[in-house]
Symmetry: C2
Subunit: 354 residues, 2 copies
Amino acid sequence: MIHVYRYEENPLITPADVTPHREDFEVIGAFNAGIAKYGDEIIMLLRVAERPISPKPGIVLAPVYDAANDRLDLIELREDDERYDFSDPRVIRNRSESATFQYLTSLSYLRIARSRDGRHFTVDDKPFIYPSQPLESFGIEDPRITQIGDTYYIYFSAVSPVGVGESLVSTTDFRTVTHHGMIFSPDNKDVLIFPEKIGGKYYALHRPTTKSVGNPEIWIAESDNLLQWGNHRHLLGLRPGMWDSGRIGGGAVPIRTERGWLELYHGATKEHRYCMGAVLLDLEDPSKVIARSNKPILEPEAPYEKEGFFGDVVFSCGALVEGDIVKMYYGVADTSMAAAELSLREILDSLEKV
Amino acid sequence: MIHVYRYEENPLITPADVTPHREDFEVIGAFNAGIAKYGDEIIMLLRVAERPISPKPGIVLAPVYDAANDRLDLIELREDDERYDFSDPRVIRNRSESATFQYLTSLSYLRIARSRDGRHFTVDDKPFIYPSQPLESFGIEDPRITQIGDTYYIYFSAVSPVGVGESLVSTTDFRTVTHHGMIFSPDNKDVLIFPEKIGGKYYALHRPTTKSVGNPEIWIAESDNLLQWGNHRHLLGLRPGMWDSGRIGGGAVPIRTERGWLELYHGATKEHRYCMGAVLLDLEDPSKVIARSNKPILEPEAPYEKEGFFGDVVFSCGALVEGDIVKMYYGVADTSMAAAELSLREILDSLEKV
């Protein structure tokens, strides 16, 4: 039995807490935040999603960042244009190629919220990492943060018309960043870089999405320098009939425990119900799976988890560990941020050997 | 005007020239070969595709390599099983998930053909590189060979139920190989590693296939050690209405010329007519595109190019250059190998600035 203590302050941050970065935009999401400790602050690196306010009924504006001219274009579409399918709130599809999307309905970027107690956060006035590269023209999403020494490696999905890949930046002060380019080519997301070398190599989990054959599952890769990755291997698959039968992906930065590397990962059914579970990887060789959650450790149950822009979603991109307490921060319903405390021992004891 | 001199000996190798690696198999393809010079030999590293001979009418056997037990399993399927779609000669689809394939109809592996004159080849008695890794259970396809010093780097599509990625091996003698694992995670193919460092870094072209958004187009990546790759950038896109409007991918190892790196690449229409064309990349910075073929340099015209297992395909994985002569070897109709000579100057002069 896993006890979940959801903070009374939940949701910790909602779109109403974030001022839009432009007057003609509205904030529709502040969610899926990467988490770090920086000095005496807890940093919540929010994915903020903003939508251009429609100038008149029947018109939808699709935001596209133009890197060549360093400006944001707003593509005007008519809702009654039969070439487009607006039924998914997240994307605009071209009916002639409905497998892929043509535009996103919102632009995501990264913005810092700061806290001393981990429960009350203040959102920075301005974006921290805004689209600035050609591969980011549809936005940047779902950051994770791995601290190695004094450097914080921040990586996120970079979305553009040529695909969804994972890009890396680094910072030492959460003020300025250095760009390191795309480290996992499309389609890929849900990258999690381990916080230390193992046997002389860095490791990362990643989640390719394949077209020809295969499912959205978790892979592992190796690196000497964090910038270039190789020796890609398939690590963890879907489980038909279970909570992680539709898609899975890494969540929080792997946590070193005596029993192994604990990865808190998300799993969804084909009906898009997103839960959090855990997998334990070998300490010396993280490509070996030791044990795994047969049931979720966290399911969408609270109202703010069940209802929102895209409901029935709990999706963690970061956690803090203090002794036996895992403070798991997580996006809810693709809308807001929440947090819950769980017992590390209870999570570990709940895992079933594989 | 580009002159194409097809060898009188074409096709140089056909399936009839290759003995199957097992008595219960038949060779259906010997094509898309990587090319290298080794001593005084020209090595043609064939992709050999073999199909298990059906034991009785109405039965199809799907070959699957089982790495854990190092054996080849033959999955028996009934042609009248309504769960499966056998209409594509290359793959067997599950009708309930028809976007992806469930099995391949043949197993591909790599086998050496040797020649002194580049026109008459003798096929080795045995496979050279046969599936041996978990990520190769559906076979290995379309090798390319980059020689750096005395080492030949051989890389190919590794196909398995978890996706199609690109794996690397190396050899110095075309007898034994060292495995380096998967260097580009799924879905990816048509990798071409440049034959020397440029500005202190190795470069490779690669071709992700994306599901969410984007097209099968050519990307470029960097490496310090050939094993780990990063700084992925989009390089070359499709051109609606032209010969390369449906999909493109690198072909031969990039050729250093005075005017830039010349890449012979394949392009296909959405109707799957595969041609060869060329693109010129900056000598100092191969992420810069200088010029490109508005018309193919080679189109399927000869009977052996138009008819076969999958017709209307010319697909080069390797070329040799001697002075002004480009000896382009190429797979035809997913069946056999052919070669043609073209003038390097004529190719370069034909390119249109972009």
